[in-house]
């Protein structure tokens, strides 16, 4: 059962921010509803005692995907389907589009949003690893202020982020690379559709002749939240590509993840699979 609540549908960002600032009550943003409504429905603590739901689906400003010289800008309420069907995203953000196509099923992708995915910040948020390797920034606004920060800093723990109750993520800004980057996204789920991912990996690299000039690596689901691997990236940057190097990199990555997680019951399965899939991903990207 959904408890009694107030409901509002602002038409502009300004109006939404004013509603979010309503004092003395618990105001929540409603975007795709795939986490919020199920959360309320199941009586989840994270979604209890909501006084006002602010449905942002009537705000056109949050629905656009545009680009300028330096950035690709994705509105804070773009759904996975809208992203997948957008020509700019398809051409310039292939890893993100690939990850988006693996989310849930069609009904979910038609409603769920990219921003909702990382604001909820479940370990299995599929869009997070690609956004991290793209060095995504996010723009957050409230009634009286605004800030921009790297997504990586915004995500602080499982289901935790730096968002404040009066704030709304209005944009995702992805810096355009000035050189060609090659990359891929991989997801292993338990079931094909509606699979909540168990392992997801994203790799983006700049290859120069036979060397890794720069590599960016991110994981999801196997780590408590989606994260980058700066030490590993530093270690690999500038190295000559060889089968041994890729194997060693995959091994180091698996060790890191084992450490980050402590050992879990699923580790005997996950770690070798992770090492192997990461190796294959590296091979594909550096080929």
């Amino acid at each position: 059962m959904i408890p009694e609540l107030q409901f509002s549908r602002p038409k502009t960002i300004r109006e939404a921010l004013n509603l979010l600032a309503t004092p003395g009550q618990n105001n929540r943003i409603l975007a795709g509803g795939t986490d919020v409504i199920t959360g309320i429905q199941m009586g989840s603590k994270r979604f209890s005692r909501i006084d006002l739901l602010i449905d942002i689906n009537q705000i056109p400003e949050l629905k656009t995907i545009t680009e300028n010289k330096a950035h690709i800008i994705i509105g804070g309420n773009v759904t996975f389907t809208e992203l997948i069907e957008n020509p700019i995203a398809r051409q310039k953000l292939p890893l993100l589009v690939k990850a988006a196509s693996t989310v849930g099923n069609l009904q979910i992708r038609n409603r769920a949003t990219l921003t909702g995915n990382f604001v909820n910040n479940a370990p299995c948020a599929d869009s997070v690893p690609p956004l991290l390797v793209y060095d995504a920034l996010i723009k957050i606004e409230s009634q009286n202020s605004g800030r921009e920060l790297p997504l990586q800093d915004f995500l602080t723990g499982t289901y935790k982020t730096l968002i404040k109750p009066n704030e709304l993520v209005t944009e995702i800004r992805i810096p355009k690379a000035d050189t060609e980057l090659r990359g891929d996204f991989y997801k292993l789920g338990r079931r094909k559709s509606v699979a909540i991912s168990r392992i997801s990996l994203a790799v983006l690299a700049q290859i120069e002749e036979d060397k890794i000039k720069e590599i960016r690596i991110a994981s999801g689901a196997v780590t408590p939240i989606g994260e980058r691997f700066p030490d590993l990236e530093k270690w690999a940057n500038g190295q000559k590509i060889s089968d041994e190097l890729l194997k060693l990199l995959a091994k180091k990555m698996a060790e890191k993840i084992t450490k980050a997680n402590g050992l879990r019951w699923s580790s005997t399965y996950k770690i070798p699979v992770l090492q192997q899939t990461f190796y294959q991903l590296l091979k594909k990207v550096t080929d």
């Binding site: 009694e4 609540l5 509803g33 409504i37 009904q107």
Partner: protein, 152 residues
Amino acid sequence: MPKITFNLNNKDITITTAYNRRLLDVLREELGLTGTKEGCAIGECGACTVLLNDQAVNSCLLLIGQVEGQNVLTIEGLSTKGELHPVQKKFLKHGAVQCGFCTPGMILSAHALLHKNPSPKEEEVKEAITGNLCRCTGYKQIIDAVMDVTKG
């Protein structure tokens, strides 16, 4: 209580209801349209699928206030003048209905696909119904039925 106006099955309607109700509840309890089913209630089974502005969505994940001013199509709105819709006819022909619980959602997902893409490949049909679970048929008859619609 708030009044909510939306287009349901090609007719504008206005209802008076509380904001804490899902579209699914209003369809079934208020409007007596029980073709839309409730399975999991958390967006996994697709039994509650309706079309919102021509897109397949789960009505268990929509609050009634969200459909204000929008177009909603349920299985009851698919047939015209008492005649079954072509997708419904093909489902019957291919034995794609057993217990029938998944059928309304399945048919609406197929309808949404065909609306967007009148001659889909089998892979695309499969993709379009990944959000609709069926415990009975094993899916083959369903996929055959949808593919048959494309042949006219």
